[in-house]
Amino acid sequence: MNSLDNLREVMRRDRVFDFMLQTTGLEVDLSHGTILYLEDISVSFDGFKAINDLNLYIDAGELRCIIGPNGAGKTTMMDIITGKTRPDKGSAFFGQNINLMQLSEPEIAQAGIGRKFQKPTVFESHTVFENLELSMAGDKRIWPTLTAQLNGIQRDKIDEVLEIIALQEQRNLYAGALSHGQKQWLEIGMLLMQSPKLLLVDEPVAGMTHQEMDRTAELLTSLAGTHTVVVVEHDMDFVRSIARKVTVLHQGSVLAEGSMDEVQADPRVIEVYLGE
């Protein structure tokens, strides 16, 4: 009797097995206005503390710049948020409800966190268009991917992103043939295709001309509001041109936080930067 009930329960057609549920169904809860919580995070590599009791909160819709000398732990922090590195202690939450410590990299990406690497990484033997196609939000399991066909709406979405990153003319070019700056943009475009809530952008203007830098600044500021953007950058002029709020990282923890002017007037920050 009991087992029959169980069987009935299992066979109910309005139910889906847990393992069939997609992680894309996981909606991030932003009811408190904070999209990212990093609390008491530490991580060490062979005894060297790359991140040391880091506390960082990012508001939804914010554009935050993170600066800090080389080796301050900026990239490592992004590794932790995106699941590439597991911290030794501390907690990381995406919104109120998503515990990033329990998710794998693709699950975190599916939940809505997109990441641009420090070294621009695109699929060089695919065309610009294909790079964007592959990055598009959607069901990324094996079978749906095997049978996927682009529909009109999706093509429009790709065209839209091509326009934003100004690569319409290069759409059928192999990504490997792009200039360094164009690759950076393509990678940002790939993030946009994922429709992420939170974008982590690691050194986006490295190797760019001034013109390209201006365009990138424009692009990132236009994204803020609808997205939350966290930018790691070295170039102070660039940071000044986009930043509303700046966090200074030093030796794996937050040294100062505030507007660019406040931060630059902070004696501890001056010491760290001039002491180099």
């Binding site: 695919h126 592959l134 094996i142 049978t147």
Partner: protein, 362 residues
């Protein structure tokens, strides 16, 4: 219709399939219609030899799918090939029935010789063709799945992964050499009589096997082409070129690798099953690490990442091998090594890459 769409932009594939179709029709005709002694007559021996090459070509396509597109340099595809071959061999053994030397109605000769009195459980079912064909796919597929699940989950890549695949086939070779394993030990499985009631020595059967192998090669090519032109195929190339990037846009890289690697192993198993009835024997030598390395050389010579290049490479190198082992047997291994070095240095994209370059220049 779908097939035409698939190869519409695949000029190399069109050419490959056309030549293959022509050969499939012409070679049996030249064998059957022309009298022996006619200059254009193709002997049954040659037809079977060509059939063997075609099985290798299918195997090469399987290797290329994993290496050229997914970036997994498998040095163990010989294991999947051999497992498929053994599954077919077990069926053929059981078809012998009481016509063996010892005349046991149930037990193959080697078991009688070992004084076994019952058929081991894993030989059950192999008297049925459908079951054997199922095992031709399941055995290599399952091995690849388990191996891949462990290796990809621990994120073993590159050279380490290649060495592990090599160790896999080596370990299986040692295992299959043992008589207690129940696969005929050293001698393997041989003295086959018939397949589905057709006498394996008969010319008609041999020609039939050649045609079936050619058809399976075409089918295998088309399925692989369908995979690599799908979005999943593009994801595979993405994994090959930038694994982390692929992961961070939300693909489960391990699953992608597992799916394609397993499919590739199944294809290799089918190639093995087509090979065994044509050569009439399967023994542990097929697991030898050197065999798996040879397969990779076929693909490198032909040009990886094109599928048809792999097939062409397999045909060319094996023709060369047949010729050289006949003329100068000691030289073959050196020739193979030299070939690999030369191709790696001079023709990184293989013969097909060279032809494409020539075409672009003219």
């Amino acid at each position: 219709m779908r097939i035409i769409n698939l190869i519409k932009h695949d000029r190399g594939g069109q050419l490959f399939l056309s030549v293959l179709a022509l050969a499939t029709v012409l070679i049996p005709l030249l064998n059957l219609l022309l009298p022996e002694g006619h200059p254009l007559h193709i002997s049954t021996y040659t037809v079977t030899l060509l059939g063997k090459y075609l099985a290798f070509a299918l195997l090469a396509i399987a290797v290329d799918l994993a290496w050229g597109y997914l970036g997994i340099l498998s040095l163990g595809h010989g294991a999947f090939f051999a497992l498929g071959g053994y599954a077919m061999g077990m069926y053929l053994m059981r078809q012998i029935g009481d016509r063996g030397v010892y005349g046991d109605p149930l037990l193959p000769d080697f078991m009688v010789f070992l004084n076994w009195d019952a058929l081991p459980w894993f030989w059950y079912g192999f008297d049925m063709f459908w079951f054997a064909i199922l095992m031709v796919m399941v055995a290599p597929g399952l091995l690849a799945f388990v191996f891949g699940w462990l290796a990809f989950r621990s994120r073993v890549t590159g050279v380490y992964l290649s060495i592990m695949t090599q160790a896999l086939t080596y370990a299986l070779m040692l295992a299959f050499f043992r008589n207690e394993m129940g696969f005929g030990g050293n001698n393997g499985l041989t003295d086959f009589k018939e397949l589905l009631g057709f006498n394996l020595q008969a010319d008609s059967t041999r020609i039939g096997l050649f045609i079936v192998t050619a058809l399976m090669l075409a089918l295998g090519y088309i399925i692989c082409r369908a995979i690599v032109t799908s979005r999943l195929g593009r994801v595979a190339v993405a994994v090959r070129d930038a694994e982390d990037r692929t992961r961070f846009i939300g693909y489960r890289v391990e699953h992608v690798k597992l799916a394609i690697f397993t499919f590739s192993a199944v294809l290799a198993g089918i190639a093995g099953a087509l090979y065994v009835p044509q050569v009439g024997i399967i023994n542990p030598g097929e697991f030898s690490p050197l065999n798996s390395i040879e397969m990779v050389i076929w693909v490198a010579v032909g040009g990886r990442g094109t599928l048809y290049g792999a097939a062409v490479g397999a045909l060319m190198v094996n023709y060369g091998k047949t010729y050289l082992t006949g003329a100068l047997p000691e030289v073959w291994l050196f020739a193979l090594g030299a070939l690999f070095v030369l191709v790696t240095i001079l023709l990184p994209k293989g013969v097909i890459g060279l032809m494409k370059r020539k075409e672009a220049q003219s």
